[in-house]
Symmetry: C2
Subunit: 267 residues, 2 copies
């Protein structure tokens, strides 16, 4: 019923239309939209009319179409991301204020890091992590942290694929990757210099949810060779604990807890 | 082609499904979704399946459906709101750090204020402005600022409607409203105590775009009777000028510019 002669559903065509917009193309004439989606112009015009009517798209003052305010609102107010972003925000802000470098929050989605928050520094390192932007899992500190805390089967699946080399420092072999992931789990953070662009370093720590699963990575990006890892890591870890606790995490149940001292009962 | 037997388009039904989610209902079983949308269960199940396939919806660990990460990403990365939020963010952050109260950025949409950013204070005033939440134009300081800088025809249209009284301080008569709007324009800010909830005050200033149009309001929310208007207004005005300049605004061409002094030429 809802399918075109080619069997493509209305919803799939709607996704093709929305996907034609990105940060570099936020508004365009309908003719351009038809060209970018590859849909027949008549189909595009009809769908755009319906989407304009529902507020999913809107016209800008020059008559170009763009993603509608209503669409942003519908998605933003109900997204499960809102809870994570709201929990993380005050802690991200504190990190950002103290470190004075780009601070991001990223999650894993479709084997990539999707950045759901970015607090930018006005003058700081090159930062290629954009809000709602993606970076490859093996070539950013957030990705490596999230991978380090993922199940082994997932790690194996990622390492079975070719790992693109972005710089001389990108980790591209499973053996070296396994060594890095073990170190990250042991120390509780990743500090990587120039693995996607030579001039930036990333320092990232995991954020846990109530089920003790690493659901996000908190990350600062600093100019390469200006890392102050010794000072930054404790700050990031403390902030990540705060975010995790807000998400219902109750602290590690296993691991580095040692009970060698008998604690006297308070009377 | 894409219409149901009732003549309702697939896109309209998709909007009904997305609209069924909100901050209090971020995930639900498909049966609940059918009930909340009022669509027939079979239609709902079929549409949900298609939306799951496209990533517009996703299943949470308990099997409930929610707005998908992909949908958030598609909308966020291309929204015209992103430009405004990114331009505003560092300035909002500075205001928030100094004032230490809730700081919001709101735009006018469908005769209401839609909040596109909120930096919360950990302990501060009651703040009913949520990200992607709405407040009535006549009952919040952001709304009054945006109304004050709107064309007269638009103001008349808003004042022709019944204005809901939320508290004893809500402005509900056109005569009093006109007086307030004139004062806001004259002084360049709105400072309103308890007009929507008795315990909060709002102080808001306009943000202008390259066409010198007030496109957003920058707002701080403080506990009623703890306003420090004399200190807050200059800070807000300076931040709003910074945001406006980032948006391409080049300063007022008319208004309160006085040239009574001859400026000596530097040699």
């Amino acid at each position: 019923m809802a399918n075109s002669p080619t069997g493509e559903s209305v919803i799939h065509r709607l996704v093709r239309i929305i996907s034609a917009f990105d940060a570099a193309h936020t508004a365009m004439p309908v003719s351009t939209l038809a060209r970018r989606t590859g849909l027949p112009p008549t189909t595009t015009y009809r769908l755009v009319d319906e989407m304009l009517e529902e507020g999913l798209l809107e016209r800008d003052p020059r008559g170009k179409v763009r993603i509608g305010v209503r669409m942003w609102e519908l998605v933003s107010r109900s997204s499960s991301m809102l809870g994570l972003r709201e929990a993380a925000f005050p802690f991200c802000e504190d990190v950002h204020a103290v470190v004075q470098h780009h601070t991001t929050l990223g999650i894993l989605d479709q084997d990539e890091v999707l950045y759901i928050e970015r607090l930018s520094a006005r003058s700081s390192a090159v930062n290629i992590a954009k809000i709602a932007g993606r970076l490859p899992i093996h070539a950013c500190s957030s990705g490596l942290v999230l991978l380090a805390y993922s199940p082994k089967e997932y790690q194996d699946r990622i390492m079975a694929r070719p790992l693109t080399k972005y710089t001389d420092s990108t980790i591209t072999t499973p053996a070296l990757m396994r060594q890095h992931l073990a170190e990250i789990r042991q120390h509780g953070y990743a500090a990587m210099r120039g693995i996607i662009v030579p001039e930036s370093s990333g320092i990232a720590v995991p954020v846990f949810n109530a089920e003790n699963r690493a659901v996000a990575a908190l990350n600062v990006i600093v100019p390469a060779r200006e890392e102050n890892t010794a000072a930054t890591v404790p700050l990031l870890k403390a902030a990540a604990r705060g975010i995790s606790r807000t998400l219902g995490w109750r602290g590690e149940l296993t691991g580095t807890v040692h009970r060698t001292q008998k604690i006297p009962v308070q009377r």
